[in-house]
């Protein structure tokens, strides 16, 4: 097995490189080969044997370790205080980031992504806890990521819902929490991105649309669900082709909208990609029963990393255009297109 990732922005090829098939892939195929056929005669368990439980079912995006205690994830008292008087009203969520210089092309602090390692079970095996303390504990321990164990990205779009009936449900807490944890916007008009410059000046802009949260195809910990096989729209989520004749190849494709890119940039950029299968054992141990219907807020699917790709460049990078600041300068008509070909031979 081998794979190759192409990343396109419009007609510009940003990257075309081989991926790494990790050891989890071998473990997954061994699971397939030893799945007990006797389950087929047990009505309540027969769904375990359905092939959809064993194919690639999700893609996720990650950033470098250093991005998590920085960028829009960074929280301090002055930043929190700034939210209350200025952005407390209305229904808009918020992305608040401290600019280091006076430029307006945001180059996130992320460090280099983790080196390729076939034993990886997550995109970034190093500590990716958000370092900000929220009351009694680290924010990431409040909402641990699904499958990846550590928080990767969490849609700020849903922070309002997941804090309902919790001590974090007040307006101020929600906005702060969403601004620290989130990385993908809900839609075109509900998120303000605010840049704070060293001299105290601010620059705000509305965040563009999110392809994933518009289609409800990303769960709270950042796994984008496979929404179609042999067809479908890659704006809605991950899609796969049928078998490409004579090559034993399959094309997986997904697109990130301008808002996804803009937000992901402010939260640290995208340096990792991963394709995931369902981890049957962990999904069952979590008390879920197949078929595992994808759910944004309470996803019964636990995932196993199948292959990964790390980049030394930020896939969300931007640059100023004349007087237009880079971080507000994503072309509203352009998506970032990821084409991932797996070849079985």
């Amino acid at each position: 097995m081998k794979g190759e990732v192409e990343v396109w922005y419009g007609d510009q090829l940003i990257a075309k490189e081989s991926n790494m098939i990790v050891d989890g892939a071998g473990k997954h195929i061994a699971d397939i080969m030893t799945a007990p056929s006797s389950l087929s005669v047990i009505e309540s368990a027969s769904a375990i044997l359905h092939t959809s439980n064993y194919s690639i079912q999700a893609i996720s995006f990650g950033t470098g370790k250093d991005a998590f205690p920085a960028n829009a994830h960074y929280y301090d008292i002055p930043k929190g205080g700034r939210v209350v008087p200025t952005y407390n009203g209305g229904s808009q969520a918020l992305v608040l980031v401290n600019f280091r210089g006076d430029g307006s092309s945001y180059a996130p602090e992320a460090g280099l992504p983790e080196e390729p390692n076939p034993t990886s079970t997550r995109l970034e095996m190093r500590d990716t806890n958000v370092s900000a303390n929220w009351g009694d504990g680290a924010v990431s321990s409040v909402f641990p990521g699904n499958g990846q164990q550590l928080v990767n990205f969490m849609p700020s779009a849903i922070v309002e819902f997941i804090t309902t009936d919790t001590s974090l449900s007040t307006t101020n807490s929600k906005k702060l929490l969403g601004s620290i944890m989130g990385a993908f916007p809900p839609n075109a008009t509900n998120v303000s991105a605010v840049a704070i410059f060293p001299d105290g000046q601010e620059l705000s802009a509305l965040v563009g649309s999110s392809t994933f949260n518009t289609a409800s195809s990303m769960d709270y910990s950042g796994f984008v669900n496979k929404v179609a096989t042999a067809g479908g729209d890659p704006e809605d989520g991950l899609i796969s082709s049928g078998v490409v004749p004579y090559t034993n190849g399959i094309l997986f494709q997904v697109e990130l909208g301008p808002g996804d890119l803009q937000c992901a940039n402010l939260y640290g950029g995208i340096y990792h990609l991963g394709l995931w299968t369902i981890d049957m054992e962990q999904s069952l141990l979590a008390g879920n029963t197949p078929p595992f219907a994808f759910d944004v807020l309470n996803n019964p699917r636990k995932y196993r990393l199948f292959c990964r790709k790390g980049f030394t460049i930020d896939l969300t990078r931007n640059s100023d255009s004349g007087g237009t600041p880079g971080f507000t300068n994503y072309d509203p008509s352009q998506n970032l297109v990821i084409k991932w070909r797996l070849k079985f031979y």
């Binding site: 097995m1 799945a35 044997l49």
Partner: protein, 203 residues
């Protein structure tokens, strides 16, 4: 651990001759060859385009064949998709043996098939997970199996064996696909001994 970006499936075959006295003799202990049918089968699984094959059991290795014409004339390559001279009938496998035998259509690729091939089933009890990514298939040709084989009026030895995935394309009746293959030195099978094939595939 594999430091390559690719992942290569590999296999190892051990052939043991077991006499009625219990004495054992190792005839072969060597790697096998994974053929293109493995990729063919996995691509159908991961694309979920297996037609009626929506059960993962259709993608499991569940059958084997032995043959008398190995190695192939063109050499042992990953491109082969059938044995050079598989046993031609269920009778040749031995009706008195403990093998579960079927006559099925062999699938060569997405377009071509060969009807009327004899296959032996691998019982679930003989499929063992021996590591995170390793599965062992234990195939037994007992004393009553594959004896007295002839070709052209002469005794014929068995000298090739293959593992098959059950039915990746998902046809109504199973159409197995060759995924692993190995030739070996001639073995004239008699009722004096059994042959045990311990075949480990590392995924």
């Amino acid at each position: 651990m594999n430091f390559l970006e690719e992942k290569n499936i590999s296999g190892h075959l051990q052939i043991v001759k077991v006499y009625k006295s219990g004495e054992e003799e190792v005839l072969l202990d060597d790697s096998n060859i994974i053929v293109s049918g493995m990729g063919f089968s996995l691509s159908y699984l991961f694309s979920e385009s297996g037609g009626g094959a929506n059960l993962v059991t259709k993608f499991q290795i569940g059958r084997f064949q032995v043959g008398v014409s190995g190695p192939p004339a063109g050499g042992v390559t990953s491109g082969i998709n059938q044995l050079s001279g598989s046993l031609t009938s269920i009778d040749e496998y031995g009706l008195g043996s403990n093998l579960v035998l079927e006559s099925l259509t062999l699938r060569l690729d997405s377009a071509n098939t060969v009807a009327g091939q004899a296959f032996a089933r691998i019982p679930a009890s003989k499929i063992t997970r021996i590591g995170d990514s390793s599965v062992r298939y234990t195939l037994v040709l007992d004393e009553e199996a594959c004896n007295g084989l002839t070709r052209g009026g002469s005794d014929a030895p068995i000298n090739e064996i293959g593992l098959f995935v059950n039915n990746p394309v998902g046809t109504p009746a199973d159409q197995p696909v060759l995924v692993a293959y190995r030739t070996f030195s001639d073995i004239y099978k008699t009722s004096d001994f059994s042959l045990i094939f311990r075949w480990t595939i590392n995924f």
